[in-house]
């Protein structure tokens, strides 16, 4: 396995996709006995058995095409010379891949290709890494008899519009691999072949389009599929061919794509999706594939810094001084205010091992359970809801499961933007015939895109998820569509009856609720019938479910629906939270919540505590600590004085910015560990420079519960991996930590966490990934959960009554604001804004319906004032009917927008996850930034001054 850092060579290409099936076929290829799955092509059978049939138009990421005629073979008993890529194996078949006749044919084909290809191999950026070159050598081409005079395609202009790759049509052999990759792998269908015959040419959309202006989403599938230098990364042209490759895991979203980081020296040349990666199966998106330049960005802070007050400029200090100062401050504050005046926030962007150490430092070093994580503001309701109903705070399926789904219900998620690589998998299944129900206030791309159309789009009014789910359940129960046999066997029948009686009430009918939800009752009934009757039903959801005052209720309502229809415990079904950040699942697993130790064991569980107390040699507080919003409340009350924040930017990402700022300003020691001087650092007293995912070892756990290795590709520019910095702090606080490698931290996690009992770095290296639980009961991990029974025993139905949010529209604030994400940016944008991704999304825009815009005299591009009872900001608008009348929408990727100045402090009843998705607002024309924005900018600029760097480029956001 090529998981370790190894000398660069391209990943093996078997020519055509793998076929899975029980039946095998045995054939003979060049005298070798070969057994493969029935349905496999001769080309693939030859490749997997060590052979190599020349090919150009075939690659194993896309279906066979049969156009290049280079892969011809001879087969006993068959006439002519069939193409091996389109010929399937059969029992007893006898194949000859190298004969005089084939050599001549192949040489003739290659001769034609080369006659219209520039012969600049020595200076070509793909030199020595080019399939055309390899195949010309393989067929023994020595001469081109046609000469190079006459008509050709060698002088076509290059398209350099895309910031990450170039398109050089002169080098194109029109094999269509890029077009097919865009169609089949990505599912965007942005590329086509225009013209015919000699004039055939790859085109991004219309002939007037460039790659940048086209519908291309820059996923890189075409670049990866290209056998020549026609579509190639600019970085390869600039830096040269990679010399080493290291398999690691992407640090963007919760899909957890694995990549080969291909490097030259200590410089990353490119990130190429790893074909053996089980989360992404060789695919990528624009963020993971291309947007890693932030790691080397000039604004990255590499020296530790301290200051006595946030009004002072930063003072660069040595690591020793920074750590000693930090420990001294923490000890002072503990002595003066008590241990509960301290706390910490772990990061869903950091590794499991780093997260585990931060919560260990807080619990064992600070002596308090005041530790929380950014999942508080995204998926804490998932943890609560799924643990209550199923017994485990995690999704039930692996991503492969979607291949067996018949009906896919997407609620409160926008996977084509937020989880693009999984969205491509989902779209592939939809193109093959699965049905689709989308429940979302916006008409997301999934509702209607090339070759995809939702059977039902239920454009609900923001804040009415529970009402819609109750109505779906009402139809399923009252029309007798529930799978009662499943429920009787797997769930508590009495609880089911209680729930079924409740949802059957008239007040939960689609007709009764239509005025509340805005969803036409007939559509809702149709969707319910489709979900219940359509075969394997799978539910995928995102933050549009959790970030509501009834986030936890919505998660439980989803679980109820899955149980009532028998859609749990096998492939193709399940409840699947699409996690936001790369390691949200892991951060939650690692005991980052104030009430839970790793593996979701409550701190009041004496048995669990005893394990940790024995291992750590300290007493663990049996009472829960403070959640993030409660820490901030306690700070403004003067009771909470110090916080250690690793890899989070709560000032930008958390709701009610003014309250967050007031809380931070009231603390005496705010320690921020990050790559950049983020917004939160404006209020920090200690800044500890962090390391990127390219500079550390560890693991991330994705939305499938898949634990995957993160491997160091280069030395940390700041001097330390993040876990080492936490260890330095712990040692300075007097703890006897002596980890020499994250593998030792994982060993400790495995010792203390039953669901991780069988996890180790050695196993991860050997197997690529493991899906927890990995323990005595499931030694090889658990791709699908609750197969024979729920983790909690019987599945629990919980009555989830619709309780309207207190955030209501009225004369002052008549519109509802909801928030979301866009493909090219990630979270608060700290990383992606420092890459060329800004060409696609340079600023946050407010989407507003044409009617609402017209009523206010607003047109696309205008500046508007967006105000709620919490605050106001300004941004520009785009007028679109993607949003319904009465609803406006924006992203929060840019700090200047300050979208969270608008959001309120309402939150989920069970977990305090903020209600980001519903804010009553007013939109009015504006001339420019608000006073608050101007003051904020001035304060941020003052706060970011560094002594000795005055006049130099400010490391500002």
């Amino acid at each position: 396995m090529d998981s370790e850092r190894e000398t660069y060579r391209p990943q093996p290409d078997f020519g055509t996709p793998e076929v899975r099936g029980a039946a095998t076929v045995t054939l003979n290829i060049d005298g070798r006995e070969v057994s493969v799955a029935a349905g496999t092509t001769v080309m693939r059978a030859a490749a997997v058995s060590g052979g190599s049939i020349p090919k150009l138009c075939a690659t194993d990421s896309v279906k066979q095409f049969g156009s290049c005629r280079l892969c011809l073979v001879e087969i006993d008993g068959m006439r002519g010379t069939p193409a091996s890529c389109t010929t399937l194996v059969s029992e007893g078949m006898k194949v000859h891949t190298q004969t005089k006749k084939l050599e001549k044919l192949r040489r003739g084909v290659m001769e034609l290709y080369i006659s219209d290809h520039p012969l600049d191999c020595l200076t070509c950026s793909a030199n020595n890494d080019c399939e055309l070159q390899d195949q010309a050598a393989a067929v023994g081409l020595r001469d081109v008899r046609y000469g190079y005079e006459g008509a050709n395609n060698l002088a076509q202009p290059m398209d350099v519009s895309n910031p990450y790759f170039d398109f050089d049509p002169s080098k194109c052999i029109v094999c269509s691999r890029c077009v097919r990759a865009c169609d089949e792998v990505q599912g965007t269908l942005a590329l086509t072949i225009e013209g015919r015959g000699f004039d055939s040419k790859v085109s991004a959309g219309l002939s007037s389009d460039s790659f940048l202006s086209s519908e291309c989403v820059s996923c890189g599938a075409c670049v990866q599929a290209c056998p020549t230098a026609t579509l190639q990364e600019k970085a390869v042209k600039e830096i040269g061919k990679p010399e080493r490759a290291t398999v690691t895991t992407c640090a963007y979203c919760g899909v957890g794509c694995t990549f080969r980081a291909e490097t030259r020296g200590e410089e990353v040349v490119r990130m190429v999706p790893w074909k053996d990666g089980k989360a992404n199966r060789g695919h990528s998106c624009v963020k993971g594939r291309f947007a890693w330049g932030y790691a080397q960005h000039q604004e990255r802070i590499l020296s530790p810094m301290i200051r006595a007050s946030i009004d002072e400029p930063w003072q660069e200090v040595s690591w020793d001084e920074a750590i000693a100062h930090t420990a001294s401050e923490l000890k002072r504050i503990t002595a003066k205010y008590g241990r509960n005046a301290l706390g910490g926030i772990t990061s869903s962007r950091c590794t499991n091992e780093e997260t585990f150490l931060v919560q260990k430092l807080v619990r064992a070093g600070f002596g308090t359970n005041n530790v929380d994580t950014c999942a508080r503001v995204c998926h804490s309701p998932t943890g609560y809801g799924l643990k209550t109903t199923f017994g485990t705070s995690a999704g039930t399926q692996d991503f492969d499961s979607v291949e067996d789904s018949d009906v896919i219900l997407v609620i409160g998620a926008n996977p084509t933007d937020g989880h693009p690589v999984f969205a491509s998998r989902m779209k592939r299944r939809l193109r093959k015939g699965a049905k689709l129900i989308v429940i979302d206030p916006r008409r997301t791309d999934l509702v209607r895109s090339p070759h995809i159309e939702a059977d039902y789009h239920l454009p609900l009014r923001p804040g009415t998820n529970v009402a819609v789910l109750s109505a779906l359940a009402h139809v399923i129960v009252t029309e007798g569509l529930a799978d009662e046999a499943f429920v009787r066997e797997r769930c508590d029948w009495e609880e089911y009856r209680h729930w079924a009686d409740f949802v059957s009430l008239d007040r939960n009918s689609p007709e009764f609720l239509e005025p509340v939800t805005g969803v036409p009752a007939a559509d809702l009934r149709g969707a319910a019938r489709l979900f219940a009757n359509g075969g394997n039903g799978a539910i995928y959801y995102g933050l549009g479910v959790t970030e509501h005052s009834q986030g936890s209720s919505t998660v439980m309502a989803i679980a109820n629906l899955a149980m009532a229809t028998g859609n749990i415990g096998r492939r193709g079904v399940g409840v699947n939270p699409l996690r936001g950040q790369n390691n949200v699942q892991g951060a939650c697993d690692m005991g980052s919540f104030p009430h839970e130790l790793s593996g979701y064991r409550h701190v009041s569980d004496a048995g669990a505590r005893a394990l940790f107390e024995a291992e750590w040699g300290v007493r663990i507080d049996p009472e829960p600590g403070l959640r993030i919003p409660n820490m901030l409340d306690a700070a403004t009350d003067g009771l909470f004085k110090a916080i250690y924040i690793q890899g989070e930017d709560i000032l930008q990402s958390d709701p009610d910015t003014k309250h967050v700022a007031a809380g931070l300003a009231a603390m005496e020691c705010v320690i921020v560990q990050d790559l950049f001087l983020n917004e939160t650092a404006n209020y920090a007293h200690v800044f500890l420079p962090g390391s990127t995912f390219l500079e550390k070892n560890g693991t991330f756990t994705n939305a499938e519960r898949r634990i995957q290795p993160v491997r160091k590709v280069m030395e940390p520019k700041n001097g330390y991996e993040d876990w080492q910095i936490t260890q330095l702090m712990a040692q300075a606080m007097g703890l006897d930590w002596a980890y020499t490698h994250p593998r030792e931290i994982m060993d400790e996690i495995a010792r203390l966490t039953p669901t991780f009992a069988g996890v180790s770095f050695a196993r991860l290296d050997a197997e690529g990934s493991l899906q927890w639980p990995v323990n005595h009961a499931a030694p090889d991990g658990s791709p699908i959960m609750h197969v024979d029974g729920f983790v909690r025993g019987k599945g629990k139905f919980v009555v989830t009554d619709y309780v309207p949010t207190d955030e209501r529209t009225g004369p002052r604030f008549p519109l509802l604001l909801t928030t979301g994400r866009i493909l090219s940016h990630y979270n608060v944008g700290a990383q992606t804004r420092r890459t060329a991704n800004v060409v696609w999304h340079p600023e946050d825009l407010l989407e507003i319906h044409p009617t609402d815009a017209e009523n206010r005299g607003i047109k696309s591009g205008d500046w508007v004032r967006l105000a709620s009872r919490a605050g106001e900001t300004t941004l520009r608008v785009t007028v679109t009917d993607r949003v319904a009348p009465g609803v406006v929408y924006t992203t929060f990727h840019h700090p200047v927008t300050q979208a969270n100045v608008i959001t309120t402090d309402y939150s989920d009843w069970a977990t305090n996850c903020p209600e980001y998705k519903v804010t009553a607002v007013q939109v009015t024309p504006s001339n420019g930034p608000t006073d608050w924005q101007e003051e904020y900018e001035a304060q941020a600029a003052r706060s970011r001054r560094i002594k000795g760097h005055e006049g130099a480029m400010e490391p500002a956001e």
Partner: protein
């Protein structure tokens, strides 16, 4: 503790109450929830308000749960 923080705690308790009305034993459910998820200081603060004027804003079911929990805490 500020009035703002206490107001929020009371709001949180009332919000839990509104979301568990269909539980077989809402009082026990609320008490369990607060016990499991609130820090000692949050609990103490809201217990202290039970007898005061701010506590009047508590939903009766939430109040019953907090009173039960407060009695148990003693």
């Amino acid at each position: 503790m500020s009035a703002h923080t206490l107001e929020k705690l009371i709001y949180m308790a009332n919000q839990i109450a509104r979301n568990v009305t269909h539980e077989p034993d809402p009082v026990a459910m609320i008490a369990d929830h607060v016990h499991a998820f609130w820090s000692p200081r949050m609990k103490d603060d809201v217990f202290a308000a039970l007898g005061g004027p701010e506590g009047a804003a508590l939903d009766p079911v939430a109040r019953a749960a907090l009173e039960r929990l407060a009695a148990h805490a003693d």
